[in-house]
Symmetry: C2
Subunit: 428 residues, 2 copies
């Protein structure tokens, strides 16, 4: 094959320009590896004249990105506009309908419309690839879909929002409260325009929903995911967790259980000796557990021009090489509609609360736990100067249901000051 | 495609039986993902009747493994015999010549004959894949060849011999000398029949030579690699390194320099805060640095039935899916014959030696370093009871040539007791 692979790129933000730079920097390398030249023929973005640090004057320009999908000289549309609906969706649909391959970094689009778009791609015999949508430069989609294709996947876990991990590790290292570090992150430009996408766990949840589909052969089901952000994690929790040998991470976990597909993106405690617990700053990590391979850990930059463009180019090179596999690793129509597991599998939990300092308070809490079927592994009451006693409890294995029941019973004791904190301790 | 992919498996040791078990355990999963059933039709091994923990009675038997390559009902030969010559080589060659795809775990074969075998596969339009040859279950060949195909690779590093890492980390945790832990490892069955393949760095060197070829588009060149085993690493070195914040690893490093391709498999110091420094026991780790992606770290089991069989099956599933790319990521005839860099790039070095305790001894050593163009970052002389003074030096950046020169000068000082130890500190 010496026919070039001709790209139309929609969106020239950080990632789009990163892709342009790679194509411009390595024409021979890409041609040698891809078996054919990789060329950009047309681009579309919000402004044609904005200075982006790369020369785009040689490429045809489209004011309307969807026009890229209608050009006869475009083989592959690279969608880097973002957003779950609107023009990104129209572009991807039009491209596939017109027989073009599509590479996208759009986790929101795929987490909401991935099933339909995958089916459309397959009905047209085209590729719809999304390595860049999950964990930036880490080639995790490829590892899971292809490299580990011989495994029944048991669990997928990940720290996949660098901003959240930056905030949590910075809170610990600088001993600063959440609100202060959140403001720092905002000023550094680490937060999305809607910060809840980051700190609310939505962005990371989108990513996890795509990994789930591949891992378990199930339809993408973002709506059933248990989502909890990091806004309620306090510096006290981080320090108490550390004292017991744990780190707090916004951890995504997906696994198939007897009660259905469990998908959670919540703050969890993980052992500080595990690579997940050692992950600092904005780096991402995905952990895949297969029945044959055991545990595989993948670590790398989760965002940024170079890493995300690298992931886009991984997909582009696959298409140059003629590699076509279904979007989620098996035909879209074979993806199962698995029920969502509403109750999580059992695990130890970290519970922190403040009690009125009066006789019998602790006993009431212990009784509420016992009545909920939860046994206590460790309990500590800390010394205190006022009438409020800080209490830390680590439970033996309990489900999310058990914990919810216990929290309800705590309310009824009348000894609680403020809201208790409950976080799962993920066993890794 | 509903035509089954029909396997002939040569070698039913740990890995071969692992492959049999996966194919038997997951027929539907494999068919759904591969787009066609994956079947075993014939096998060959040293004994037909040995109890292997898997039922092979349904498969045709060949006493001569090369016969698998001549069967009309075999599409893909899985070579798990091992060895750089002999029957493994004959089998792979015959299979490719007969138009069959080949999947192998044989690093020795490919590190010595990979260039010719890749060319043969490509001339026949067949696949020759070897994920299982490098770092066990970690899908590193796929990550490097495909996922990171948009990157100019800057450096590849790895801890790829689990036995060596087990020995080094066990020496530290149990404070036992090398010889004792070596014997332990032998009794545990961790060592190859020729232990020098492990502790001499040869096995890990084979793996590195294959990663180099993909990373830098160069012909496989195992013979030019700088190889040094772990036999000379003492518990003192491990402890002194730890005191300075480093771990000692048998570390493979490959990078393209202005003076040619640098390939080393030697004991090195790495920061204990880096994932490489934190790697305990028999686990493997590969670190890939690309110009766009930055640093990617991959971690997993480097050996064993399940992990290695998982890697074999990754390749098998690629072939089921119709994925065909050149063995080393670009056509074999385009692989460059790069000169070997005989002198390593500059790095800090760790030097430990024992000096006669007499006036001017340390000055002579310092002078020898200065005369070799090496400046000193840190130097410590330890208190001692006898006439022998232990001395530790950390240098600023120096090449392997500079260090060799200094070691020669040390000899001439007449103050050295025994052999000095010199290890590179790899900057990660």
């Amino acid at each position: 094959m010496t026919t070039p692979l001709r790209l139309g790129i929609a969106g020239l933000g950080t990632v789009g320009i990163g892709v342009v730079k790679i194509v411009q920097a390595h024409p021979e390398l890409l041609a040698r590896r891809g078996g054919r030249p990789v060329e950009i023929v047309a681009v579309s973005a919000s402004s044609r004249t904005k200075n982006r640090g790369a020369d785009i004057s040689a490429y045809a320009w489209e004011d309307d990105p969807v026009q890229l999908a209608r050009r006869d000289d475009v083989d592959l549309v690279v969608e880097l506009i973002g957003g779950e609906n609107g023009v990104a969706k129209a572009l991807v649909e039009t491209a596939l309908k017109n027989g073009k391959d599509v590479v996208t970094a759009n986790k929101a689009l795929l987490s909401h419309h991935g099933n339909a778009l995958a089916a459309l791609a397959e009905s047209k015999g085209r590729s719809l690839r999304f390595e860049a949508a999950v964990a930036g430069g880490i080639p995790v989609i490829k590892a899971l879909t292809e490299g580990l294709a011989g495994n029944a996947i048991k669990r997928v876990m990940g720290v996949m929002n660098g901003t959240c991990n930056y905030i949590l590790t910075r809170m610990e290292s600088a001993r600063l409260p959440y609100d202060v570090v959140f403001e720092e992150a905002r000023k550094l430009g680490y937060l999305e325009a809607d910060p809840n996408l980051d700190v609310g766990g939505i962005d990371a949840g989108h990513k996890l929903s795509l990994l789930s589909a591949i891992a378990f052969g199930t339809r993408v089901d973002f709506d059933s995911m248990v989502l909890q952000g990091i806004g309620s994690v306090s510096i006290d929790d981080i320090q108490l967790a550390r004292d017991m040998g744990f780190s707090i991470k916004l951890l995504g976990v997906a696994q198939m259980t007897g009660r259905g597909l469990e998908q959670r993106m919540t703050p969890c405690l993980v052992p500080e000796t595990h690579p997940l617990g050692q992950l600092q700053g904005g780096t991402n990590m995905v952990v895949i557990e297969g029945d044959s391979v055991g545990q595989i850990v993948l670590r790398g930059a989760g965002a940024g021009e170079g890493p995300t463009a690298s992931a886009v180019m991984g997909d582009v090179m696959d298409i140059a090489r003629g590699i076509t596999i279904p979007t989620f690793g098996q035909p879209a129509e074979t993806l199962a509609q698995a029920p969502a597991a509403v109750v999580s599998t059992g695990a130890p939990w970290y519970l922190r609360m403040t009690l009125l300092d009066k006789p019998g308070a602790l006993a009431k809490i212990a009784t509420a736990l016992g009545d909920s079927g939860i046994s206590i592994d460790r309990m500590r009451q800390y010394s205190h100067d006022d009438a409020h006693a800080p209490v830390l409890i680590v439970t033996h294995k309990a489900t999310s249901d058990d914990i919810a029941m216990a929290l309800e019973r705590f309310e009824g004791t009348g000894v609680l000051v403020g809201e208790p904190v409950a976080m799962r301790i993920e066993e890794v």
